[in-house]
Amino acid sequence: MKYRIITLLAFALIIAGCAEVETKMQAYPKMYSPTEKPVSMLVVPVVNKSTAADAPDLINSTLTVPFADNGYYVLPISIVSDIFKREGIVEGSQILGLPAGVFKSNFGADSVLYVTINSWDTNYVVLAANVTVGMSYVLVSTADNSVLWSYDQQIVVDTSQGQSSGFILLDIVSTAINTAMTDYIPIARQVNATAVATLPYGKYHPLVGQDGDMEVVLKSSREKALEQSD
């Protein structure tokens, strides 16, 4: 519930226009070109810039649903990540130098999605804790290596729940428990949902081609994703 409110507030801020906002069409013109718009999407292993070693696999498991729901054919991530592992590729930075065209010939994918985990951590302030999950997404065409879509998103959630037992030690313990690993996943899902809201709909979405006027793309977030993935 709390996550929903925070996400909603984030959207409200974007829409209220404290920063430069673009329409989907202005931000991602290639996604509206009949010849350049991708149908299929290959999610390659995540680049992990956080200190959490198991974050990439867990993040991988959250990506299929939002991107498929947005109308794209997402090549089955569970199978794809096994194939990469068999080839000795477990971390996204191992393939960053490869031209995207490689994935056209090997997987038949029109586009490649590069995801970078920028932050995945907890800050304790005595009795309170904040969990921060930040990710950037860059979708690249396998036809010509050009960027089709990019977005950077970060969400901070207060996990201390605001209830004090009156015993400081107990509170510290419960804060730490509340901020266990699995708590990151629902937050990661919110990060995905917020970012994907800026992605133009794909072939299998009922509103494909009709969302170009939606003013939902924060220009700074679109540009930041490109810097993060360098």
């Binding site: 299929s40 498991s61 089955p76 991530i77 199978i79 949902a193 939902v216």
Partner: protein
């Protein structure tokens, strides 16, 4: 202004949607949960649970007259192949290709692995 309001309502709709059919028009069942468990702790048990989810998605999608989500038939085919159930695996791979023609290159690669006697 009214357009912005619509967008806000739409986004709120996505975020609060808890119904069985997703905003993209798919039925995902317990996909996110059993897949997460499989990634976190790969075992015969978590694999069986995920396989059960995939079968539920396929049958429930047919029931609800929805397109089976991308990758579901392929994932099921892959699990069946790992289990040496080759014929059933090939059937699922063909289902995926029929439903999503853009999967052809990938699925044919998987199928050649299976017919060569497993892809381990």
């Amino acid at each position: 202004m009214s357009k912005k309001l619509l967008v806000l309502l739409f986004l709120t709709g996505i975020i609060t949607a808890c119904s069985t059919v997703s905003p993209g028009g798919y039925y995902w069942g317990k996909y996110m949960y059993t897949y997460h468990d499989l990634v976190k702790d790969p075992s015969t048990e978590s694999r069986a649970k995920h396989q059960e989810t995939l079968r539920d998605i396929i049958s429930e999608s047919q029931e609800l007259n929805l397109r089976v989500p991308p990758g579901i038939h392929a994932e099921l085919g892959n699990l069946l192949a790992l289990n040496q159930e080759v014929d059933a695996a090939i059937t699922e791979f063909n289902n995926e290709m029929e439903l999503y023609p853009e999967s052809r290159v990938f699925i044919e690669r998987l199928m050649s692995g299976v017919s060569q006697g497993g892809q381990e």
